[in-house]
C-alpha cells in the first residue's frame, strides 16, 4: 500500500504522509537499547530528540490479530518530524507517519 497524503491544519495547505501498514525501516540502537537513528529509503536519519512515546496493546480478541506496539514521535537532525513504532510481537520497526 503506498503512502497516503493527508491534509493537516485549518488552511489545509500542508500535507503529511501516512503509511497505513507502516514503512519498513532499520533502527540503530545504543547500548541501552534506545533508538539513535533509522535508515529509510537508503538514507540514515539521526534522531535529535524523542518527543513522545506511547504503547498500544489492543485487539487481542480480533481476527485481525493482536496489535502490541511502542510508538515514538521523533525529530531527526535533518529536520524530519515523524512517528515510528516497533511491533513488540515481531520486533520489527516501521515508519508510520511523516509530518510535512
Amino acid at each position: 500500500m503506498p503512502a497516503i497524503r493527508c491534509r493537516n491544519g485549518a488552511a489545509g495547505l500542508s500535507m503529511s504522509r501516512l503509511w497505513l501498514e507502516g514503512e519498513a525501516i532499520t533502527v540503530h540502537l545504543d547500548e541501552q537499547g534506545r533508538p539513535t537513528a533509522f535508515t529509510w529509503c537508503k538514507r540514515l536519519h539521526r534522531l535529535l530528540q524523542v518527543q513522545q512515546r506511547w504503547q498500544v496493546d489492543v485487539d487481542w480478541w480480533s481476527t485481525a490479530g493482536r496489535a502490541r506496539r511502542e510508538y515514538l514521535a521523533v525529530t531527526t537532525v535533518d529536520g524530519l518530524f515523524c512517528v515510528i513504532y516497533q511491533d513488540l510481537v515481531s520486533r520489527e520497526w516501521r515508519l508510520a507517519k511523516v509530518y510535512d
Partner: protein, 406 residues
Amino acid sequence: MHSKMDDAIGILCCYVPNFLIASACCDQPGWTERPLALLGADERVVAVSAAARRSGVQIAVRAQAARLACPDLHLQPLNIQASQARQTAYLAALGEWELPVESQGWGLAYIDLNGIAHSTAAVQPLATDLGRRLRRTLGAALQPALGWDSSKFTARAAAMWAAPGRMKLVEQADVARFLAGQPISLLPLSPPHLQQLQWLGIHTLGQFAQLPATAVWQRFGAAGKLAQQWARGKDNRPVCGAAATTYPPVTVDIDPPTASLQPVMANLLASLQPLLRTQQGRMEGIRRLHLAYCFANGAESGSVLDFVYPVNQPARIEAALMQQLGAQPWPGALTSVRWTLLATGEVVVAQLSLFAAPASRVASLGDLARPLAERYGAVFFQAQQSNASHPLPERRSRFVDVPSLA
C-alpha cells in the same frame, strides 16, 4: 432539401475500427494485453490502441513523446505488408458484389448501393451478408461496423456509431434526428477548429448545424461551410470506384542547383501550398505522392511518399519530405524535383485528447479514476471508516481503491 433523385441514392459505409491495431494484434495476440502504438516509416506514431489513447498517446507524435505519455507503451514498427495484405483482402471481400467500392484508407470504404437497395428492409439482408463474409475473410477481431444512408457522411457517422459486428441503417426521415446527437468530433475539421467549437460550447452536430451558415463560413472557411452541410445531412459526393486525382504534375526548378536540403524543402513546400489549401477546403489529404529528382550531373531518381492516413497539414508533409529527402542518395546538386499526386483521401477524424467526448452526465469518480489507475496502478483510495476511535490508523478506517468501488 433533398430531391427524389437524391433519396434514391444509397451508400453503405464499412468501417473496421482501428484497423491497423486490430490487424497487428491478429498477428501477435500477446499485444492486446498492453497499450500498443505502431510506428510508421517516418518514426512517428501511426496507430494507437484504445488503452494507449487513454494514456494520452496521440497519432503523429514521435516515439519518445509517446513513451513519455505512457511509460508502459508497447511500441512496434508497423508491418505495412501484413496490413496491406489484410486491406486488400478486405477490399476484395467488399468488391464481390461488383458494385462501385471507394476505399478511404485503412478499414474504411463506401459501397454504392444505388439501384440495388433503397430501403432499410432491402439493405438489411445485404449488410448481414457482407458482415458475415468479412468476418469469414478477416476473422472476428476485424469485424466491421456498417452504416447506411443516402449520403457518405451520414453513412460514415452511422458506421462509427455502430459497434463492430453491428449495423446502423438511417432512413432519410431520421437523418436530422440521428445526426443531431452525434459528437462534433465526427467532422474531419482541423484540430484547432474543433477546439474552437468545443470552447464555444458546440459539442454536437445538431448544434453545429443550427449555427448561421455565413458565420461558420467567416470563422472556419470553406472547410467549415462544407462540414456544416454534412452536419445538416447534405453530402452529395458520389462513390468513386477509384479515388482518381486530376491534379497535374508540378515541376519545381531549383535555381541555382544545390546539394543542400533547406532550399529544396522551401521550394517544394511552396509548390505544395496551393494543393494543400484546396485539400483543406475539401477535407481531403495526400495519401501518395511521387517525387522525381533531376541532378546537375544528369542522374535521375524517384521515390514514392506514402502516408498511412491522408494528410493536408503542412507540418506533417514537411516532416515526411524531410525524412524522404534525407534518406535519398544525392549524386550531385539537385536541379529540379517533379511531384505527382498519386492518391488522395478523406482526412480521418482528428483525435482530440484535450477534450473528451461530451458526456450526457457528469462522470463518476470511478470513471475518472479508472483510466489513471490503468496507467499508474492503484493511486486513488477512498476511506471507509470502520472504527473511528481505534488507536491504530489502519484499523480506524480501511482504504479501498476508487475504481473498484465504482
